[in-house]
């Protein structure tokens, strides 16, 4: 148990220290209880690939992988991720090689403004890990947590369909 330690500074509740594995790197961080995982990534760690579209779980732009599972980083407290393994869009490429989904998004022209793209990519990696999407309709349904304001859905769907077999073989998260 880690109850609140003595109040620090300006009468605010105490910060907590947490350990994460972030894109393969072990990190030890001080976080305020009210800092979301998304704000930790973007504001404290300058990992601005994950986007803040709505900040209410309604768009999916903030999707990241926690222990291989996709979640909305905007509705998760950083302090509650102590011990977790987190992968953001910055961590998808390996040894300078794009993840098969990233490659497929380029080949299929699966974005316009790109604002939703990092969330789409992390969500699609989560989708591949889950192994529940076997048809176009299933991909559509299981990607419905990611909105694209530019309406690039057709090409996003095609890119994911292309890349799923490679994701299965590679078993990469």
């Amino acid at each position: 148990m880690s109850a609140t330690s003595p109040t620090a500074g300006a009468g605010l509740p105490a910060a907590h220290s947490i350990s994460l594995t972030l894109n393969g790197q072990p990190r030890r961080l001080e976080v305020q209880p009210w800092t979301t995982l998304l704000d930790l990534l973007r504001e404290q760690l300058q990992l601005t690939g994950s986007k803040k579209g709505c900040d209410h779980g309604q768009c999916g732009a903030c999707t990241v992988l926690v222990n291989g599972k996709r979640i909305n980083a905007c509705l998760s407290l950083a302090v509650m991720q102590d011990g977790a393994e987190i992968t953001t869009v910055e961590g998808l490429a390996e040894d300078g090689r794009l993840h098969p989904l990233q490659q497929a998004f380029i080949e299929r022209d699966a974005f316009q403004c790109g604002y939703c793209t990092s969330g789409q990519l992390c969500s699609a990696v989560g989708l591949a890990n889950e192994g529940r999407a076997h048809s176009r309709d299933e991909i559509r349904e299981l990607m419905s947590g990611n909105l694209c304001r530019c309406g690039a859905y057709t090409n996003i769907l095609a890119a994911i369909e292309d890349a799923l077999p490679a994701c299965r073989e590679g078993g990469r998260s």
Binding site: M1, S2, A3, T4, L12, P13, A14, H16, Q32, P33, W34, T36, D55, H56, G57, G60, T63, K69, R70, I71, N72, L75, S76, L77, V79, M80, S123, G126, L127, E130, R132, R140, E141, L142, S144, G145, N146, L147
Partner: protein, 332 residues
């Protein structure tokens, strides 16, 4: 968000003790509803007690053939649990009809029961709302009420409970096991959520200092004849305007032996009425018997202008769901 303190509990007793010592505190599980409400200043706890480390993550078969689901099992893990897919596919369907894959990975079984209404006025801390601030008024009655209740509403509140999972749990007659300072108790699902009456601030019969520890499903799962039908503004990732959980058991001659019907999106709680189910028992499966049950379930339905359409929509959805349930043969 307003600053708050944070503490992590490892055991149920520890969580209850923390709660007892901190009246300003709230439990947090997946966080998908509570943090949303905190960002909108609708909820302003002074402290969050993180319960995700409690040992309530298991799904186990009970002595009498039912299934006991720990309060912290995620909505995704529950929907895809082999026993749920095989024996309670109605529950799996209802869960998968809700939210998004990301949210279902985060959301917990206990938290799903306790999610609050999506009424626009409840969510807007700048306007009156009897549920948020008792006695302040209900702008929804004469305002924008397209998503609001047609059954069981009161002068003070016409909000609906937004959960899909709970509609299936109501039809399956689950029970809710809770722990509090005075020990454990079990609440029938029908008695868990409540109608608004003159206390719309209370969504359910759980006490503030109690913790949900598990949900138990009885052995009867209606795996053969069931349907969860959800009608909404877009095909996915939207709350229900109307949803129906229908479950049947049929005799060898096709007549209905047992029936369960529950509605979502229409009331302050999942809506059931034993009279509607009685009307189905012993009847053949056809449009007449289904229509009679629908009329009985919707008896007393009342719209508030923008949501008048829900009454006819619900009637048709009930008939359609019963047709789907009746024609279904086993689980995929």
């Amino acid at each position: 968000m307003t600053p708050f303190a944070y503490a992590r509990a490892r055991q149920v007793d520890e969580a209850l003790a923390l709660r007892a010592g901190h009246p300003e505190a709230r439990f947090i599980a997946g966080g998908t509803n509570l943090l949303d409400l905190m960002k909108e200043n609708v909820a302003r706890p002074g402290m969050l007690i993180d319960i995700t480390g409690l040992p309530l993550h298991d799904v186990e078969t009970t002595a009498d053939g039912g299934l006991r689901i720990g309060a912290l099992v995620s909505n995704a893990d529950l929907a895809y649990h082999p026993e749920v897919e095989r024996r309670y596919p109605l529950l799996a369907q209802a869960i998968l009809a809700g939210a998004s894959p990301q949210l279902r990975n985060m959301a917990s079984t206990g938290g799903n029961l306790l999610q609050r209404t999506r009424c626009y006025y409840f969510y807007d801390a700048g306007v009156p709302c009897n549920k948020r601030e008792p006695g302040s008024g209900c702008p929804a009655r004469d305002g924008l009420n397209r998503i609001h209740a047609i059954l069981g509403a009161s002068d003070q509140c016409i909000a609906v409970h937004p959960s899909d999972m709970c509609v299936a749990l109501a039809a399956l007659e689950a029970t809710v096991e809770v722990a509090g300072p005075a020990g454990r108790r079990v609440i029938d699902f029908a008695d868990f959520h409540r109608l608004p009456g003159d206390q719309p601030q209370r969504d359910n019969t759980l006490e503030d200092d109690e913790l949900i520890v598990a949900i138990t499903l009885p052995a009867r799962g209606f795996a053969r004849h069931h349907a969860y039908l959800k009608v909404r503004d877009r095909a996915s990732y939207a709350f229900a305007l109307v949803s129906v959980a229908a479950a049947l058991e049929r005799e060898a001659d096709g007549r209905i032996a047992e029936a369960r019907l529950a509605l979502g999106g229409v009331a302050h709680k999942p809506w059931r009425d034993p009279r509607a189910e009685d009307l189905l028992r012993g009847q053949p499966c056809n449009a007449e018997s289904f229509g009679r049950a629908a009329d009985a379930l919707l008896q007393g339905a009342q719209g508030f202008a923008h949501n008048d359409f829900k009454i006819e929509l619900a009637r048709r959805a009930i008939v359609r769901a019963l047709e789907q349930a009746a024609s279904q043969e086993g689980t995929p």
